[in-house]
């Protein structure tokens, strides 16, 4: 028990986590490059042309992974926020902070690619459909977190305030999701629905999965790299940081 706890706290200290994050980042970058290379190749050269949407459907290979990633990242941030509030560990707050821009980026990419898909398929860049709207709200929540964190100078305060915001926002997501049933929504017309995957070609599915894992690896790599920056920035007074930079400068 004692020793287990000890290990936990060892890696929750920024000083020990810093080099570890570096290794994870390097490793993840390799995986990212490999997966994305394979995934992109399959997206364009292996996956067959869709009988209904022609080549245009290939957007799905980034649209869907980006959508998933943006939602999943938010949940991970919520997890770290709880940890940060409960145990007051600096590292978990740093992880929340490190994930936010990437999550926002994927939310944006999801909306952007969705729009570039909607134009040829539905004839419009945008509809106020419930699913799309909830993605937009998700983007606002990310931006709200980033803005709030940036507006507070005392970083300890910023961490806690941000955590509260993230957790309050989490409650909001399912509410928005279920509101679809009451809300007078424009249905997604003659399009493939998210759940009937049976109509989907096997190679398409695999390609999409590879791209999704590629995005995961990307997010991990970026988050690790950003958390390193955050550690340096916040701990710049600490002896180990001074020594670390002293060598290289």
């Amino acid at each position: 028990m004692q020793s287990k706890l000890f290990n936990w706290f060892k890696f929750s200290s920024p000083a020990t986590f810093y080099p570890l994050a570096g290794s994870i980042a390097r490793f993840s970058w390799l995986i990212t490059l490999a997966l994305l290379a394979v995934g992109l190749y399959m997206s364009f050269f292996v996956a067959p042309t869709d009988y209904k949407q022609g080549e245009g459907y290939r957007i799905i290979f980034i649209h869907v992974p980006a959508s998933w990633m943006s939602m999943f990242t938010y949940l991970v941030m919520a997890f770290w926020s709880i940890l940060g509030l409960m145990y007051n560990t600096r590292l978990s707050s740093m992880m929340t902070q490190a994930l936010a821009p990437t999550g926002a980026m994927f939310a944006f990419v999801s909306l952007w690619t969705g729009a570039f898909w909607g134009k040829p398929m539905w004839g419009t860049w945008w509809v106020w459909d419930a699913r799309i709207t909830s993605e937009l709200i998700l983007l606002f929540l990310y931006l709200g977190y980033i803005a709030l964190h940036g507006a507070i100078d005392d970083k300890r305060r910023a961490d806690k305030a941000g955590a509260i915001l993230i957790l309050v926002g989490v409650v909001n997501i399912p509410i928005i999701y279920y509101s679809v049933e009451w809300w007078n929504t424009l249905h997604q017309g003659a399009t493939i629905k998210m759940n009937d995957k049976s109509t989907m070609d096997e190679t398409m599915k695999i390609t999409m999965l590879i791209m999704t894992f590629g995005c995961w690896a990307y997010t991990i790599a970026i988050a690790m790299q950003r958390v390193r920056n955050i550690i340096l920035e916040r701990e710049h007074g600490a002896q180990w940081v001074r020594e670390l930079i002293g060598e290289k400068a």
Binding site: K160, I164, W182
Partner: protein, 222 residues
């Protein structure tokens, strides 16, 4: 506990009464926003009737959001928030008291005035009735949720507008059910389900938000 709650409500209502204009300004902002639309969109009654519930609710959202600034920031600036934090009373009760007072001052007048404005948009009597009930259930939720945002942004120079960014996404469910109730009534479906949902959200907010707001206040006054 109840006594503390009453003292706080009394204090804030007294303060607002000293500044009677406060009582009217939220209201008048609401009226102006509602009045601006026909100017920007044109006066056709058919279009107006169509957009009435949406405009009404967006107006209520914005008015209640703007009023949030008055909730804690004056107390923060003059140091009386410090003193409130240091009284030997549960902070959640103090927060609840302040939110109740805030709603009485800014939310209630708006609910009272809404049907009059609805008439200008040619809404039917039935729709008006549902709208008032929806507002009565929805606006306290707006105050409760908004308090979290107000507490989080306390003392930040960006305050006023940052709070909009944080709070408006949280308001969206209320907007959807609130406007939905009126629309469902207008289209003959009945707004019952929407209203129950609004009531449920209010209950949850009543129980949960004072805790989040208290935590945010302690953090912000560090």
């Amino acid at each position: 506990m109840l006594e503390t709650l009453l003292w706080i409500v009394r204090r804030d209502v007294t303060l607002a009464w000293r500044r009677r204009t406060d009582l009217f300004t939220t209201l008048i902002f609401f009226v102006i926003v509602i009045a601006l639309f026909p100017l920007g969109i044109g006066p056709e009654l058919d279009t107006l009737r169509l957009i009435a519930p949406g405009v009404m609710w967006v107006g209520a959202l914005l008015a209640s959001m703007l009023a949030l600034e008055q909730l804690f920031s004056a107390d923060h600036r003059d140091g009386s928030l410090e003193q409130l934090l240091l009284t030997p009373q549960p902070l959640g009760v103090i927060v609840l008291g302040k939110v109740i007072a805030h709603w009485l001052i800014t939310g209630l007048p708006l609910v009272v005035l809404a049907p009059v404005l609805g008439l200008q948009y040619d809404m039917s009597a039935e729709s008006l009735k549902v709208m008032v009930i929806a507002l009565l259930l929805g606006t306290p939720t707006l105050s409760l949720l908004g308090a979290i945002g107000a507490a989080l942004t306390l003392g930040l120079r960006t305050g006023g507008i940052l709070v909009a960014l944080l709070v408006l996404p949280l308001y969206i469910p209320v907007l959807i059910f609130g406007a939905g109730a009126v629309e469902a009534t207008a289209s003959g479906l009945g707004g019952q389900a929407h209203l129950s949902m609004l009531g449920a959200i209010l209950l949850v907010a009543l129980l949960a938000t004072p805790i989040a707001t208290s935590a945010a206040l302690r953090i912000s006054s560090e």
